[in-house]
Symmetry: C2
Amino acid sequence: MKNQFVYEFEAGNKGMKGLLGGKGANLAEMSKIGLPVPEGFTITTEACIQYYKDDKKITDTVKEEILQQLKALEAKTGKGFGLKDNPLLVSVRSGAAVSMPGMMDTILNLGLNFETVKGLEALTGNGRFAMDSFRRFIQMFSDVVLGISKHSFDIIFDGKKQQRGIKNDFELTKEDLAGVIEDYLLLVKTQTQKPFPMDPEEQLFLAIDAVFDSWNNQRAIIYRNAHDIPHDMGTAVNVQSMVFGNMGETSGTGVAFTRNPSTGENGMFGEFLMNAQGEDVVAGIRTPMDIKEMETVMPGAYEEFVQICSRLEHHYKDMQDIEFTIEKEKLYILQTRTGKRTAAAAINVAVDMVKDGIITKSEAIMRVEPEQIDKMLHPDFDPEALEEALLFGEGLPASPGAATGKIYFFPEDVVRARERGEKAILVRQETSPEDIEGMINAEGILTSRGGMTSHAAVVARGMGKCCVAGAGDILVDEVKKEVKAGGVLLKEGDYISLNGSTGKVYSGKVPVTRVNISGNFNLILEWADEIRELGVRTNADTPRDSRTAVEFGAEGIGLCRTEHMFFDESRINIVREMILARNLKDRQKALTKLLPFQREDFKEIFKVMEERPVTIRLLDPPLHEFLPKEEEDILTLAGELGISPEAIKDIVKDLAEFNPMLGHRGVRLAISYPEIYEMQVRAIFEGALEAKAETGRVPKVEIMVPLVGLVKEFTLIKAMVHRIAEEIFEGESTIPYKVGTMIEVPRAAIVADKIAAEAEFFSFGTNDLTQMALGFSRDDSGKFLAMYKEKGIFEKDPFSTIDVEGVGRLVEMGTQAGRGARADLKVGICGEHGGDPKSIAFFHSVGLDYVSCSPYRVPVARLSAAQAKIRSQQ
Amino acid sequence: MKNQFVYEFEAGNKGMKGLLGGKGANLAEMSKIGLPVPEGFTITTEACIQYYKDDKKITDTVKEEILQQLKALEAKTGKGFGLKDNPLLVSVRSGAAVSMPGMMDTILNLGLNFETVKGLEALTGNGRFAMDSFRRFIQMFSDVVLGISKHSFDIIFDGKKQQRGIKNDFELTKEDLAGVIEDYLLLVKTQTQKPFPMDPEEQLFLAIDAVFDSWNNQRAIIYRNAHDIPHDMGTAVNVQSMVFGNMGETSGTGVAFTRNPSTGENGMFGEFLMNAQGEDVVAGIRTPMDIKEMETVMPGAYEEFVQICSRLEHHYKDMQDIEFTIEKEKLYILQTRTGKRTAAAAINVAVDMVKDGIITKSEAIMRVEPEQIDKMLHPDFDPEALEEALLFGEGLPASPGAATGKIYFFPEDVVRARERGEKAILVRQETSPEDIEGMINAEGILTSRGGMTSHAAVVARGMGKCCVAGAGDILVDEVKKEVKAGGVLLKEGDYISLNGSTGKVYSGKVPVTRVNISGNFNLILEWADEIRELGVRTNADTPRDSRTAVEFGAEGIGLCRTEHMFFDESRINIVREMILARNLKDRQKALTKLLPFQREDFKEIFKVMEERPVTIRLLDPPLHEFLPKEEEDILTLAGELGISPEAIKDIVKDLAEFNPMLGHRGVRLAISYPEIYEMQVRAIFEGALEAKAETGRVPKVEIMVPLVGLVKEFTLIKAMVHRIAEEIFEGESTIPYKVGTMIEVPRAAIVADKIAAEAEFFSFGTNDLTQMALGFSRDDSGKFLAMYKEKGIFEKDPFSTIDVEGVGRLVEMGTQAGRGARADLKVGICGEHGGDPKSIAFFHSVGLDYVSCSPYRVPVARLSAAQAKIRSQQ
């Protein structure tokens, strides 16, 4: 069988991307389903391969096929190539099988010359338009095909404008443009030693050569190397007849969405301009009319368009964004693509389409971006106000949402401002656990240091509060109570606005709006729940966070950090008394004082969580984190506790560490001071008993030991837990409980089989696991991670999206080894990655039981988990 | 066939440990090879099992066998059980298949009563001895068999001494002892409601019961649980006739080594006492004679003993430590065991025995403890002087050897003292690279902070210099120039002495001796070289260290740390200039100044190493390590460089890190500042070319990239190295080189296949790999590691001996994956573990190509590598 090198659009379909390229296959698809696409044909990728085989020559066979199709095209359009009265003009576009920016640009209006330009003028009744099209064509063709830089043409064009003393392109008359063209042609002749090709056929074949050549231009080669695309695939060439919407009052052009892209409401949404080309809409000189008004001015075309929109939605099963042109009452669809939409629209469209039977629930779930779900939960800036806002600086988008308020530098000032009814933004170099009260009362938090997993970022996300972190260019002077960036100085009490979703910081007040959450929001999440296999728990340390998380659909607590409780004002000094104790007796005295507080903490959380599992992590941070560092604070503490400041300083110095991350923390504390964990376990069990007594519901207690790397660390603590359980429980007063461990030290993942023989559950602490497996301190890596992303060493921040190849492999190994030793081992993950869609997909793929994330990420996780399941089934 | 429950010694051999227990099998073995062992028999472990089956009763069949053997024993010894004139006395000992401390003690002189004690008196002519033996027997029997605490007897015995107003046991007369016995027997009667058993047969069976019962006493059960020994194996019982060396002038007792345990010289070495029992030798009342004098006084026995010594050496193929007794001219061998010896003796004995054809070279190699080899290389304290020395404090034995000298607190003071001809000890809280000159000039180094892999420890080991590190109880006040411990205060200029092998610190001067290294030392290492598969390289940063290492047999450099070169006085300020540079141009200017220094560094090392491979690690530490921290030093630097102190402080602050271990260091520096590595690579290649030109030998260059975790980090550097090579090399001026990487980030071990596809060699940096895989900062973990060892969580410091299960697994995984991707991948290890025998055995087992260790550990590594190979073949 003879090889076919050229296909008319109607002969292909969307399955022929390899042969026709992506663009060609889509044009074919639209033609195939009967849409009025401007006629044309595609020269195949095989023709391109052949071209290279033949030393960059188009062979006669291929040439013949092209000419045949050109003939057919003339017949279909009733126009003629080079025909003065009714010229056929075409666009020429490259189109490889894989989309490849860096290849040839589009050439429009190919076929124009001094003859046909007159035909175009006659047809459109617009001499200036025709001449400008000719000018653009010469410039584009010369640039792309003849290799004369655009810049040389710009000089001529700008010269003409200067000479005429005008500012805007559209002020140039037809005659001016004719003069420009004259100069253009002169330039081409001097540069190429040949006159500009005026024969349309010659133009066409030169353009086809240029597209084929562009397959091997440097940009394309680099792009293919970078994306592992084979170099021998070749590109197709699409030749399509031009249509014009400016051929009088029965012509026009427009853009429309099949549904409202802001709300998702079902109904045409868009703009339309009579007797105009697409450029006119963009230029903004004339005001377009609402698409619905088209019904009045061009009822026939409108009706056809409405029907096409419906067909397109059903065909592509999604809201479409459609460009069209009407040339002398004939409707042409130039392009259709999936319409961009707001978060609310995405959800509403997806749900409506399920209800209309267009898509399935699974498809609906796949239509919603997890980050859109997240956006729904957080306030945003009023988009119009944002356009006027003054950018002050930029940091990391650490916790989404928008916030505006007065600047305060100290937590206590934030609290006072709040009491006065002001909205406050807490601005600090970095936050520490002591700032918690200020963070709670602030609208948003801005720090100049720290990364995506800094204290400020983690705590803010937990609260669902807007936070911009690590804004290195913003200088925060807490002593002078000033904040400076790019020459602008703001003082305490001045307004500032933060966008935690983009990391942008604005000076002044920017109004904030809140998205309305519709019933569809919950509906789509319920569908996700039906589908997903991965459980979704939350990281919550307080009854308030727990309640929020349950409302968002959390099925339990995967990580309850007990250290945050230690920082509460009512107990921090007791904690310090405990740390400063020089002997066991004094330490136990302080712990005895702490016990009732902790018991109450846990009881309240158990009451909120009812019969859902609650995983409580025993104390994790190094003790020095609880001690004051500043001279002044040490003096205050010394006074309060009746200890000499020197004694406190000695202990602070003694506890100081070179690498606290790898220091005396987690279970290591409990090996040195078993009494601390003993108090906590006692508080947990007693709190659970009280909650049971008050509510009649039996809490599901899971006690988690942090930083285990050696199985004996775990067994020592487990034995202690069982001992305390025996002391406390008797008869009816019993609470079922499990003892498990974090897997966050790389060694733990390696010896997971041995640990699982002892532990009843695992929870991967992927924050620390990432730090240790990669050797990246999260507090310090900001300094080089930016450079890493720039040089393509890391595509994503490994603290945001799990490093599948490295850290992910440890999670996989640990899970497999653990389940090998204990088939019913429950395995979850409670690092920041638990709320990241890409990471969730990975956790689904390795078969974890659940992810745990901050309350505000719970809906995102529910959706992502369902999407992961659906994707894995495809 | 009838089960045999009792074996006379002659009937067994050393292969019957399961049935006869360890002790019984050894007694049998000695009897079997014809040694004059006192006669006796063993009741088997099966008899013990039977005893438990029969509700703790010795059945009649077993009893009958025992009595039969007892009869036979009487016949063989010509003595009689309970016979007044010539009593048979026996010892009864437990003896399980696996040695088990915690079981029954020995009972001696069983068979004594008021009748036989007279016989003993008659036989020995020593009434006091006989009576004291009887007293001891009653006490021992009552304690072990009847369960009456030793303490009650001690009260009686001490009461008698008080009553008689004497201090020493031996001052009690026969009559005093008779009185004590009377009281003892009264005590037994009141406590047991029965008289003490005076019938020898009854004594024997009670003792056998007691041994069987002891199998299940609490200590034994705990011991078996802890060591995974089955509980149903049972213990054997050994019944052996007593012999007496105090039966007149034809009797005696002694202890002898078959060779000199200090020097290894071949020839009898020991002591002998006429007419005496073993206790007399221990009591030290009489001065024993040299064993060789025995030839004169007891020529027959001596000749026999000499022959037996030779037989024992040949039989056990090692130097023996032998206890013997001569009873009325008859020689009995009571015990033979491998003799303890000094390092020098161990080597000399092993070599001599190979020469004498007693053992093979492999056996000789297994006879020398690696740590003995190490001891040979370092000075030691004069043992006698050490007994008088005043202990000042204790730290970690960070680098072996002994040193004595005057205390100085600052490196420059050490240098000045050395110039004055004084011996100096550098005493500091901790050392930093700036102290290097002081460390070189000091006899030894003492620090109060830091662990086994602290700067002081690592550098001192590299120099083979004595160091005690992290002596936490010793308070070093560098400002006051004082050091304090346990109330003792030493000042600058006072003498102090360090033992780096034990960690002990003494106040004052303790004379130091140096072991002479014999030719046998080198011989045994040459044998080790013939056998071992593992290569041995060294970690060396200077020509001097390289030369030392080559002399010790290093086959190349496995780790040349370039940062130590940066600290040299002549260039540290250029390094600082480079770090403080605010732009690339200034940085490159400083680097250009550094280039000639580095080139010279490398050239000299290449010249020393000749054609041996030299692995050079590019810069590793974070830049802040090179900057001064103290106000004063910053001011000085500011003056020298003409920069404002504030600018320096800003940069110091800017570079500060929370966890420098996981911070901006290693290859990460080169991603941010490629020009630093570029300079180093240039210096390496140019230095290699110059060395080649000067010596005519072609250096073998291996360039190593530190801290790689992601393959792209490596490929970026590799491309740079190749580019610089292309720039520098042409024609004849070419040096072969390899580019490889450290594997020290856990992730690197996990993705080793991907890295090996690019890297030509791996070197496991097990120091950092241990820190990251375990999450243990080596600078901070001292605080809890002691507790970890105490609680049995870690048996060994994982920074000294590799954590096989965790870190070792990563080494294994990384090696396998790496070789899977590149079959000829060279894999070594250059962490501190490279010089540790246990770790070396592991590295052999996973098939590494070489270990690299500090120069002074090279001999240890050579021996350990051979031992690992030999052990793996067994």
